[in-house]
Symmetry: C2
Subunit: 435 residues, 2 copies
């Protein structure tokens, strides 16, 4: 029996929209948005899409009109009543009313602001400029739209069974990865793969496969949830995440003196400290180098719940965090270490083996969970690539990121030098950025 | 949007019927049925299910009531008007009205006759006794029902994503097999996998994958069709097949003297000769040994279109056929050699390499196309196994099959000895029977 209504419905779209909900985004963006809404409502920030994989010419693969239609469709979205209710009423990290009424009132009327799209050297220059809390919500939808339009550019050329086998292979691969994690006692792992996913439906599949394969952590399993609010709501699982580099980057850009610059990353966490407790108090120390960050950190930060390691060589950095906690009289076994940089099964197994039992260890699995289509089509046209969307200036001043991997550094060169001096960055080891 | 009607429809079945059409069977069964309907309408034959894989205890895996419901459902079927029209009007091997009006009149009113089901030593003893052309149509549905109920016994224990990944793996495997055949120039290959398929839907998937992957031979591709009439009709492709061992086995059993026994296999083909020409004139020589069959064959048989090799070591047997044609003054390059015994990609590639260009070479790919679930579940519970349904007696006299592989021989031992003497069978090399 053909369901005529479904068929007609599927064919009535001029486009097949990629972003169909304002909460098809990472939970931490909303948390940060609320924080910025309160602390820095007047800061003007410019976000820009940056394709680190220069050989992938996005403007040649993706039709500009199609991209505009997708971006425009995302701009048409408003929070639905159900989504608003879920954000207001749901329990996040064991706490209700994580989102304050004043923020929700603003968010209920929010729509994504204007964008600026140019083409240069076969790449799209996509920028968003405006009040920080308004433009920052473009990051995830913009990335997801570009990533999925690139996937579509490839799969649109494939025939029916070829296509079915493509997804069969991808499913098999993810399932084998999940099975390869099953024997890790005490494993805790979440989906962090929204921004560079192959597609929305595929991320949803991966999350459900994780749920069945590893079990919900609420019932003793290893799967602790997803960063994606829409999937968390629909699949009735935890939405997870804390904060990101954009906070120290913008705070730092706004600092008037070197001394204020040096304190900016701690000022971010001081503001966060006022708003959040428990599992949301997670240090992200690498924006201007983890080593210096920990060395100069105020002692109250040692009381925070844990640390997230998002660049550099993860094992030595986790060891450094353990030494830091011990030096502050804290018990590392009570501390959470979240690994989230370009993980795949082998590294997860290695890190779990090294740190399980010594700290509370947790993994945020991103692109290689939700977009591992490597090797499936000719020229590896579906392999994930390194696309980011970053705050590049704040109130007209350029932002800088150093991170623990010089290949991830960004900002004007003269500013990078100044930051390296202020934050006392020594030798850093370059690591390939895959995703 | 949930299609309520489809959902309700799917749930209203007490059983999910495996056989839903009388033409969900092999084309050659219908051809033989018509031949028997004319030539031997009063012969009483007994068919019996034989599970050569003794370690698979079908009666422990499959509930007897469920099996009876499936068999009873198949008995309720009658040819639909569309099916009848297709059989009457469709072109088979370039010929219309392959099925005569008198046969179709009988078939339009046909239903599968009674069955006898017993349990012994953990196995089902399933037999069908009656007029040959009436009971012989049970073979394929009985096998397909048992095979699919065994599959269901295993997959019924699996969870949702586990199940999806099971089929993802199977799809990937078949697709890779199909891809591994693409570079064989001039390849001709058909689906012969109805009887021991994993399931009806799965066979249908495999056929469509072959069609897309290899291309329809009508349009220059390598895929020549399916033995399954229902799938051929629905997917608008060729239905293929010629004749099987049951004809010489029953003719032989009815022979009164050793001399008549010796001539029985040729009598079968003489009757067939009267009814069919062209691609349907395919010798199946192995019932009582290919070597003796060719040695003693009447010379008119050398004029037939080709030969089907269904047991023994295929390459030497094809070489023997080539020598035989040459000795009769025939040009082997104009002859068709159909390989159909337990094929998989490696053997297909090898045989194609050896015989392409020397003869017109064709492959009937069976169980390892439509039921290759080896290695996918614990204890290999979905691996195909060797289930057959054979004519075991005719007018009360036992049938015998020798074949070119002593492991496939069947019949009472004393009769096997007599047949070996009459047909002058020497040393035979035993080969494992996988499927």
């Amino acid at each position: 029996m053909v369901d005529i209504a479904t068929r007609v419905y599927n064919h009535k779209w001029k486009i097949d929209p990629i972003i169909r909900s304002l909460i098809d985004t990472d939970f931490y963006k909303l948390l940060m948005c609320q924080s910025i809404f309160r602390n820095s409502p007047d800061t003007v920030v410019r976000f820009s899409l940056i394709n680190r994989s220069k050989d992938i010419k996005l403007a040649e693969l993706i039709d500009e009109n199609v991209l505009r239609m997708q971006l425009d469709y995302a701009r048409s979205l408003k929070l639905s009543r159900g989504e608003s209710t879920w954000l207001r009423g749901n329990m996040f990290y064991g706490k209700r009313q994580m989102f304050r009424p004043d923020f929700m009132e603003w968010f209920d009327n929010y729509q994504l602001p204007e964008y600026d799209l140019q083409v240069k050297d076969g790449q799209y220059e996509l920028t968003f400029e405006g009040r920080w809390h308004e433009v920052m919500l473009w990051e995830i939808p913009a990335l997801a739209i570009l990533m999925e339009l690139r996937s579509r550019a490839i799969v649109n050329q494939m025939r029916r069974f070829e296509l079915q086998v493509l997804y069969a292979r991808a499913m098999t691969r993810i399932w084998e990865k999940i099975n390869a994690l099953k024997d890790l006692e005490g494993l805790k792992i979440a989906d962090f793969g929204t921004r560079r996913r192959h597609s929305h439906l595929w991320q949803d599949w991966c999350v459900q496969a994780m749920l069945e394969g590893l079990g919900d952590s609420a019932a003793g399993g290893a799967f602790t949830g997803t960063s994606n609010c829409l999937i968390a709501m629909r699949r009735d699982i935890e939405a997870v995440g804390t904060n990101a580099h954009e906070l120290p980057m913008v705070y730092a850009a706004l600092a008037d003196t070197d001394e204020a610059l040096k304190q900016a990353p701690y000022k971010v966490l001081a503001d966060w400290h006022e708003e959040h407790d428990g599992n949301l108090r997670i240090i992200l120390p690498d924006t201007y180098g983890t080593e210096g960050f920990l060395r100069d950190a105020p002692s109250w930060l040692a009381g925070w719940t844990g640390i997230r390691i998002d660049s550099g060589d993860p094992a030595p950095l986790a060891e450094a965090a353990i030494r830091w906690w011990e030096s502050k009289g804290e018990d590392p076994r009570k501390k959470l270490v979240i690994f989230s940089d370009g993980l795949d099964v082998e590294e997860i197994r290695k890190l779990h083996g090294q740190f399980h039992g010594r700290v509370k260890c947790s993994f945020g699995w991103g692109t290689l969970l939700t977009n591992d289509f490597r090797g499936f089509v000719p020229d590896d046209g579906l392999a994930p690539f390194s696309l980011v969307c970053k705050a590049i200036s704040a109130n007209g001043k350029p932002t800088v990121k150093l991170s623990d991997n010089p290949n991830k550094a960004m900002g004007p060169l003269s500013e990078i030098d100044r930051y390296r001096r202020v934050f006392g960055i020594g030798q850093q080891i370059a690591r390939d950025v895959i995703v």
